[in-house]
Symmetry: C2
């Protein structure tokens, strides 16, 4: 159960969720990926894609070109998680207003 | 977008996910809830249910009985998230073996 909680922590992490969602449309270069995930630092994006690679959810392909080209893409394992990830992000986008109201309400309660 | 990322962080947190899943069957007392989420400390459970209450996903009902009885339950907002939460937990339970293999494989790669 401990490893399951560890994996849950990893895939439930907001940056992992947003990177997986960003890669839905297809492979992206690092700079494009960074543009698709507003607010993520270079350090956090590097860490997040490396962890997703280690977990087998994302591949990193380097093309022997000049200048060198590197692309990140979802694996089939990553794609199998994609629908759940987009549902969670969509739920948050649809309900964050209600959550903001609840937080404001509980903050003012004596 | 910043608030959405904040909410994503909160609902994507493993303890939030596991508490929401545990409350699916109906209201639970604190000690029963703790039993349903193995590995969670008392401090983390107290923090997690308080945050879920602030977000309007969980209610805390205290019954004026002797001894006093307190129960936690999903709100309709919490229940609307429930299906996504259980899909994510089920996905992790189904795929954690593959992820363990990927991690072992990447760890041994030169």
């Amino acid at each position: 159960m401990d490893f399951i909680r560890q994996v849950l922590d990893r895939v439930g992490d907001k940056w992992s969720l947003l990177v997986i969602a960003a890669l839905e449309a297809g492979p992206l270069r690092y700079t494009d990926l960074q543009r698709h995930v507003p607010g993520i630092s270079q350090r956090m994006l590097t860490l997040t894609v490396r962890q997703l690679q280690q977990d087998g959810l994302v591949t990193r392909t380097a093309y022997a070109e000049v200048p060198p080209r590197v692309e990140y893409a979802l694996t089939s394992l990553g794609r199998s998680l994609h629908h759940i990830v987009t549902s969670l992000i969509t739920w948050v986008a649809d309900h964050h207003g209600q959550i903001r109201e609840h937080r404001a309400h509980t903050a003012t309660r004596p």
